[in-house]
């Protein structure tokens, strides 16, 4: 069959990050020692994540953390699904050495909670985002779009938000192992 040629435009920029100033991407901060440092756990409304946040705080304190701040996303963004408040994050970054942001348990909450973690990383805070398996892809896409494709992302089983406190406890251990190399004690 005879063929023809034509030159066409692609409707998408060459890479998703093409519009982003690549100079804004930052090196991955090192993992801080647990003992003596402050940490933050960023929450966003999922009930299971509040339980997990309590487990994370207890484990970090048991390991010698000076303090663990549990921060609700409204305080970060002036609204549950709003861009981050730079002033608030700047202040938080001066107080903590590490942070865990979650829970990615839907599409939009995954993209925003992941962004919180990325924003803290840009401020030199070692941070990790926690997402359930169903929404892993969107977390990865958001990290890549912000030129932080190697950002630590901890993946939990689907429906983790609905587990009991006893079932969530080992997941807290796994999150801390992946985020801060904190070995489980149990």
């Amino acid at each position: 069959m005879p063929t023809m040629t034509t030159t066409v435009y692609l409707p998408r920029l060459a890479a998703p990050t093409s519009g982003m100033d690549s100079a804004r991407a930052v090196p991955l901060p090192g993992i801080p020692p647990i003992a003596g440092n402050n940490f933050a756990v960023l929450t966003n409304g999922w009930q299971g994540w509040y339980v997990l946040a309590d487990h994370l705080a207890k484990r970090l304190k048991d390991a010698g953390a000076a303090d663990v701040l549990i921060v609700e996303r409204e305080r970060i963004s002036n609204g549950a699904m709003r861009p981050e408040n730079d002033e608030f994050l700047d202040g938080l970054a001066t107080k903590v050495a590490g942070a865990i942001a979650g829970l990615g348990n839907c599409g939009s909450c995954t993209s925003w909670s992941c962004s919180d973690s990325l924003q803290l990383e840009r401020r030199g805070v070692r941070s990790a985002h926690v997402v359930v398996e169903n929404f892993r892809f969107i977390a990865t896409a958001v990290a890549k779009a912000q030129n932080q494709g190697d950002h630590p992302i901890v993946v939990l089983p689907p429906r983790a938000n609905e587990l009991s406190s006893e079932e969530l406890a080992p997941l807290a251990d796994e999150i801390l192992l992946q985020a801060f190399n904190l070995e489980p004690t149990r």
């Binding site: 063929t3 040629t5 692609l10 409707p11 920029l13 998703p16 093409s18 609204g79 699904m81 709003r82």
Partner: protein, 353 residues
């Protein structure tokens, strides 16, 4: 990098070109106008816009929307150059932070961004505000809405994997209407939002779903409003988890019926706002939704309850009322909101000639 790539393609026929765009993930599944270099150059030239003029970054992929990149998508959607200013204005509106485009583009909610057009350009472009304003009608509504969607999809980097919609919505193909300003007993929507009557304005809303309301048997306007309130208090509405903008599209006959009873747009908004407040006891799923208990919704919203009741929106002005549709006193339309997405506006772009 702001310039789009071009590619030389060898193809057997037009269907092969269509297949290439579809399998490359650049379409909504429907055929597109293939954006050859010649077509794009002509489109931009005829639009009168500077091709490098920037709109902004489109979430979540943070692709850069420029006249050029938007024009390619608009052309693919079937737009003509004269439609481009509306598409550009809608994108400018949707990238404002209040709209929460990151959430809109990645949510499990079926949200589709609605574009409402006000001002003289409605007539110039024949954007339907009548019997097929929301689908199946004249040309402009379809191609403008689709141009916006393709730009959001392609520039924002939202393919079928990035979008986390559970089922999505047919409104994601195209979702654009004009207000029937001439049929309205009240000032046009954009005037109520602070613009001048002769300005061309797009108002964009993250709409979760479109609900038809049959309201043809009422002799008392207050009964009609009661029916509207019951529609808005649907316990499945996602807006009850977070603030958003609700939309009533009243057909001209319904609007005149209510106006004849003395209602202004503002009084209707206030009436709907007050009557839709609810208590935790009204909510059948308290504490069992896997999310917040309804008693904590005031915390989610960041609003104080009024008299122990929780508001459906932050204020009465977040319930939009506009006029469109055929002049039959039967059906009006209610649009529930994507939570955490608030309506935004922008002027239709004008070329710098």
């Amino acid at each position: 990098v702001t310039a789009l790539e071009t590619r030389e393609l060898e193809f057997a026929d037009e269907l092969a070109l269509q297949d290439w765009y579809r399998t490359s993930g650049f379409t909504d599944g429907l055929p597109v106008v293939v954006p050859t270099v010649e077509r794009v150059e002509g489109f931009i030239r005829d639009s009168g816009f500077d091709r490098d003029r920037r709109v902004g970054l489109v979430e979540p992929g943070l692709g850069l929307a420029t006249v050029e990149s938007v024009a390619v998508n608009a052309l693919m959607a079937g737009c003509r150059p004269q439609h481009l200013g509306v598409v550009l204005g809608a994108l400018e509106s949707m990238i404002k932070s209040r709209f929460n485009l990151r959430g809109v583009q990645t949510t499990t909610n079926p949200v589709a961004p609605l574009t409402i057009v006000n001002g003289p350009i409605r007539r110039d472009l024949c954007i339907d505000s009548g019997g097929h304003a929301l689908g199946g009608g004249p040309y402009s509504n379809g191609v403008i809405g689709r141009g916006i969607r393709l730009a959001l999809r392609n520039i924002g980097g939202v393919d079928v994997e990035v979008s986390q919609a559970t089922l999505a919505s047919a409104a994601r193909y195209t979702f654009c209407l004009a207000e029937a300003e001439e049929e309205s007993p009240w000032e046009p929507l954009h005037v109520s939002l602070g613009f001048e009557p002769d300005e061309n304005v797009v108002t964009t809303v993250g709409v979760e779903s479109v609900v038809n309301v049959v309201a043809h048997m009422w002799s008392d306007p207050e009964d009609m409003i009661h029916q509207f309130v019951d529609t808005m208090r649907s316990v499945g509405a996602n807006v009850l988890c977070g603030q958003g903008t609700l939309v009533w599209v009243l057909n001209p006959a319904h609007a005149r019926f209510l106006a004849g009873a003395g209602h202004t747009r503002q009084s209707l908004q206030q009436k709907l706002f007050e009557a839709t407040k609810f208590t935790p006891d009204d909510w059948p799923f308290a504490g069992t939704s896997g999310n917040r208990k309804v008693g904590e919704i005031e915390d989610v919203h960041g609003w104080s309850p009024d008299d122990g009741k929780i508001r459906i929106t932050e204020s009465a002005t977040d319930i939009y009322v506009l006029i469109a549709g055929r002049n039959h006193p039967i059906h009006s339309t209610y649009m529930t909101a994507m939570p955490y997405s608030e309506s935004t506006c922008a002027r239709v772009w004008e070329p710098r000639r």
